[in-house]
Amino acid sequence: MKPVKIAILSLTHGHTRKYFQTLHDNPALDWVAVSAETEEVKEVFYHYGYNEIPCYMSDDEMFDAHPEIEAVVIASANSRHLEQVRNCARRGIHILSMKIPTFDLEEYDEMMKLVSEAGIVCQIELEMHYNPVVHRMKELFAKESLGRVSAFNATNITLSPVWAFPWQGVPELSWGSRVPLREGDGRFRGGALCDHPHIFDMIRHLTGSDYEYIYAEVGPNIRPDIEEEDVILVNGKMKNGVSFLLDPSWSRLEERLKVPAPGWEIFPKRMEVNFNISGSKGVMLVDSFGPNVYHNGAPNDRYTVQYTYFDEWIGLIDEFVDCIRNHHTPLINLGWHRRTIEAVNACYESVRTGQPVYF
């Protein structure tokens, strides 16, 4: 199969560095170039050692220099996604989008139209689907190991990336505009909730159902100096009666590093996606990123989880290549993902009104 000629745009998203090794190692890809938003970002990129990859200071400069590019990873702030999708659609370039294409549903629908009319692949990066533990969980669900599922509780809790990836701390760049969380609250939409759509998606996949209603509550920030929410809890019910509790908080404190590096975490485990699911035949506890190895060494002598799970990006990219070359539709496409975005929006609406939001 002819390798897909691929590039990365912007390099400002927190997941950007996860792609470097896969794009470099996978023979189904020919990594052509990257574009960087600033000289600082460019410098950080070359710090990873991929010196043979040319880095351009604008998307258009890169596309003009490399008309052979067939596909891109759009690794930018949420606020830039629409213009980049427009550019790619105009040029017929396939898209691997970050987990949030946009929260603005008019923009979202424009993206769907552009992708459809251009006949390009647009896959959404929800990498948990390529995690081996999640795959086991899907198999157990397929076998109905829990019988009739009654409760689905999940965490997607991490440290906050806002110091390393500042756009995530700016409501206009993360949420898309400056909307107060609720009357009298000095904070705005765009924080932890916007960073963690995975569990909102996974419950739909695993239960095969849709949201009936959703309720959300924000707590006082554990980082009082950021202007978005960092702790938030969500519960509600699916249409098939499954009750759920979702925690997408940034509830693990971090050192305020400008570039992710050892010692980033203050709490030992900086990222957790756990599931606690009950059904008529039993209970399932799942840790998608564990067990691991552990230490209390350099740089801060704190007890720390050293992760041993890294390969979600391999399967994700394999699917992207397969969709491009074999004209398949990605599992997580814009059409499927729209409801997940609506669910996140509904959480903010619930926070604003103090009441559940019905679908």
Binding site: R136, L146, L285, N292, V293, H295, G297, Q306
Partner: protein
């Protein structure tokens, strides 16, 4: 493109070699070479990285343990744990003292060429059906590293499924080799790495001879009650 369920090691190896465009023959799939395959397991490479990169500085003491059921010989357990001690620390075993009981369980105290000492507990008396217990802890002047989380005695699983009929557990670590056991994944990854870079045969064979000699020395030490210098 769904994750593929691998049924056999041979199938998985052929799939990986094909995916990554590594030339191979049918004979390669039946490769029989002492590759020390555990070196490809992510948890050991991460422990090694913690030592190599100085996250834990100046190791002084190792505390290793590996308990299995009756189908694993003490010799095989010692081979694996001795090699892991050398792989993780980057230093060779130069002396040891062993004490076993009835060839089923016991311990070895090892000394590495940099002065680090280590305990290696081994045994094959777990009842049928019990999960293996293993632990690899590195105690350094700065920091401790371990593959067991603090305040527990047994390795954890990724999935626990509690049902009336009993509890099922799962630990899946490799999406490309989904469906294989941890040991099968180690063997496939080791063969894949070897076939990508066929020049490593002499290193593996030299290490095999060295570790076999250490295992023999442990058995002899148990008989003679003497410390043996390799």
């Amino acid at each position: 493109m769904p994750i593929v369920m691998m049924k056999t090691e041979k199938e998985a190896l052929a799939w990986l070699l094909t995916k990554y465009e590594v030339p191979f023959s049918e004979q390669d799939l039946d490769l029989d070479m002492p590759l020390q395959p555990w070196r490809c397991a992510r948890k050991y490479t991460e422990l090694r990285n913690l030592v190599n990169k100085g996250t834990v500085e100046h190791p002084c003491l190792l505390r290793f343990c590996h308990l299995t059921g009756r189908n694993t010989s003490l010799e095989n357990l010692l081979y694996r744990e001795f090699d892991l001690a050398e792989f993780i620390t980057g230093h060779r075993i130069v002396a040891l003292h062993a004490a076993f009981t009835e060839g089923r369980s016991g311990s070895v105290i090892i000394r590495l060429d940099n002065g680090v000492v280590g305990s290696v507990e081994v045994g094959n008396q777990l009842p049928d059906g019990a999960d293996e217990v293993d632990r690899h802890e590195i105690i350094a002047r700065r920091g401790v590293a371990s593959d067991i989380v603090v305040d527990t005695q047994i390795p954890q699983q990724s999935v626990y499924l509690y049902k009336e009929e009993g509890t099922e557990t799962y630990k899946d670590t490799d999406s490309e080799l989904f469906g294989l056991s941890g040991e099968q994944i180690e063997r496939v990854r080791a063969k894949f790495a070897f076939l990508k870079d066929r020049g490593s045969a002499p290193e593996h064979l030299t290490q095999d001879a060295h570790i076999k000699a250490a295992v023999e020395a442990a058995l002899k030490s148990n008989e003679t009650h003497k410390k043996i210098v390799l």
